[in-house]
């Protein structure tokens, strides 16, 4: 038996790789005995001993899980007209939100492909904080810096802050125990103070569960992590690795850049057109995306629920009869459903409820076309 990595995550490594960057919580992960993997050039925990992907996943769905996602990028656009400038570049409409709200948005190419999907925190008209994906941060910052008019500052703050996600129904209790603010509206954030240190507490996440993402200064991150783990323990909360984060987001049908979105996969195809400000005067890729929307995309994102035994994986062909109708972009075992699930890009002829066959390394696995999420949750609950 050989242990081979699949797409959507790095290979498991037990030795440190000097070429990889490490999170401010690296020592904590090593002390916990986590299996580490390369995520976008960062050596991050994939799972922890005593947990494992399934238990960590279940902790989030039933109680609470704490994730180190400090590999995520941090960037800031500041100066007069920062909001207006970002709004003229990124796809979603910052006019739809007010100060103190965060927004899922896209950085597109002129041909409509996606350089990155990211979260924009609107702090004020002069200050927009961005959380891009680890591997794409430098490029997003370069593109914005190159386009920025005189007087605006675009900073790459990747190693200025940590990011810790607290996800699950018991998230409020965990934050309450630390005296951090809770209960604010979905996709809104509060800038607060913890032990004398500034922390941003945003009601966001990538799991589908109620939860928060905390942005402390880099050097405060380990202290905050320790306090969160201690507060989560009485609820059966666990430190969770990026393996569980991937199964959780796949159950929700959330796009992962590099799989469901890429420079070759547009938001129209990926069905994230809701994150495009179609009525805006301009943004990168607008002309191409408007044209594609009008003509109809050549392929569209769907979920596939395996009805046969087997686990679909990225790049598996999807067929109706002998005809290939598309390809799996992410596939895994759903710990909640105990079933194979996949996200796929399929021909426009395919519709919800259709029966398809997934070619899993030469074995045919039957599946039904569905609209994600695969699991019912209420991330927005007041």
């Amino acid at each position: 038996m050989l242990v081979e990595p699949t797409a959507g995550g790095g290979s498991v490594r037990r030795m440190s790789d000097a070429a990889l960057k490490t999170s401010p919580l690296h020592d904590r992960h090593v002390a916990l005995g986590a299996k580490m993997a390369d995520f976008g050039g960062w050596e991050m925990p994939i799972e922890y001993p005593g947990g494992g992907v399934v238990r960590e996943h279940t902790a989030v769905r039933s109680s609470v899980g704490i994730f180190d996602v400090s590999h995520l990028g941090k960037a800031r656009v500041s100066g007069p007209g920062a909001r207006e400038f970002v709004n003229s570049c990124l796809a979603n409409d910052l006019g739809r939100i007010h100060e103190g709200k965060a927004q899922y948005t896209l950085c597109c190419t002129e041909s409509g492909g996606v350089v990155d999907d990211l979260i924009a925190y609107l702090r004020s008209d002069e200050d927009v904080f961005l959380i891009p994906n680890a591997a794409n941060t430098a490029q997003v910052v370069e593109l914005l810096a190159a386009a920025a008019p005189e007087g605006l500052t675009v900073e790459n703050l990747h190693e200025g802050y940590g990011v810790i996600a607290v996800q699950g129904t018991k998230s409020d209790e965990v934050l309450d125990a630390l005296g951090l603010p809770t209960g604010h509206e979905y996709m809104s954030f509060v800038e607060t103070d913890w032990n004398g240190h500034p922390v941003i507490v945003c009601r966001t996440g990538y799991t589908g569960e109620r939860g928060y993402e905390l942005v402390p200064a880099w050097e405060v991150s380990a202290q905050l992590w320790d306090a969160l783990l201690e507060a989560a323990a009485p609820f059966g909360g666990l430190p969770c690795g990026l393996g569980a984060r991937d199964t959780l987001r796949t159950e929700m049908g959330y796009a992962l850049h590099g799989n469901e979105l890429s420079v070759d996969i547009t938001p129209v195809q990926a069905r994230v057109g809701w994150a495009v400000g179609w009525k805006k005067e301009s943004f990168w890729g607008k002309d191409a995306l408007v044209a594609e929307k009008a003509a109809g995309p050549s392929r569209v994102a769907w979920g596939l629920l395996a009805t046969g035994r087997g686990i679909p994986r990225a790049h598996c062909a999807v067929k109706v009869g002998d005809e290939v109708v598309g390809e799996v972009t992410s596939g895994t075992f759903s710990p909640t459903l105990k079933n194979g699930i996949a996200l796929a890009l399929l021909a426009p002829s395919v519709a919800a409820g259709d029966e398809v066959v997934i070619d899993v390394r030469g074995r045919e696995v039957a599946a039904t076309v569905v609209k994600p999420p695969f699991v019912e949750v209420d991330v927005r609950e007041a």
């Binding site: 038996m1 242990v3 081979e4 699949t6 992907v53 393996g243 895994t332 710990p335 390394r361």
Partner: protein, 129 residues
């Protein structure tokens, strides 16, 4: 990973499988403690069928975790005489009891002496490094 163990009465392969000789001339095969730990939670196991003939080194099945897929290689040539059907519903037995309830399949080796040529526990652990 101090809890990983390698029973003395088994033979091993470089592909992280174990082989146990039975009384009736068949051998039972599974994956090692190291293998299940490296894979993480096993969520799907695909095994050969009873009656299949396999050759040593052939890929004859797959073990999947949430994130990875690994081939099972036949450690010996022979005929498959039994498979562990309980892994269909409870693949996690591979993690919780890799040398017991988590066994995978049984073979009648074409050459009974071939078992002795596999790695002994010390040799297997030595190549884990």
């Amino acid at each position: 990973m101090s809890e990983l163990d390698y029973p003395q009465d088994l033979r091993y392969t470089a592909e992280h499988e174990w082989v146990r000789s039975g009384d009736d001339g068949t051998v039972r095969i599974g994956i090692t403690s190291f293998a299940q730990d490296s894979l993480g939670d096993v969520v799907y196991v695909s095994l050969p069928a009873v009656g299949d003939t396999v050759s040593a080194g052939d890929a004859c099945g797959e073990v999947e975790s949430t994130k990875s897929v690994s081939d099972l290689y036949a450690p010996l040539s022979g005929e498959v005489t039994a498979v562990n059907e309980s892994l269909d519903a409870t693949p996690e037995l591979v993690n919780t009891d890799p040398y017991g309830e988590g066994w995978m399949y049984e073979l009648r080796p074409a050459d009974a002496a071939a078992v002795e040529a596999l790695l002994d526990p010390a040799a297997y652990q030595a190549q884990l490094g």
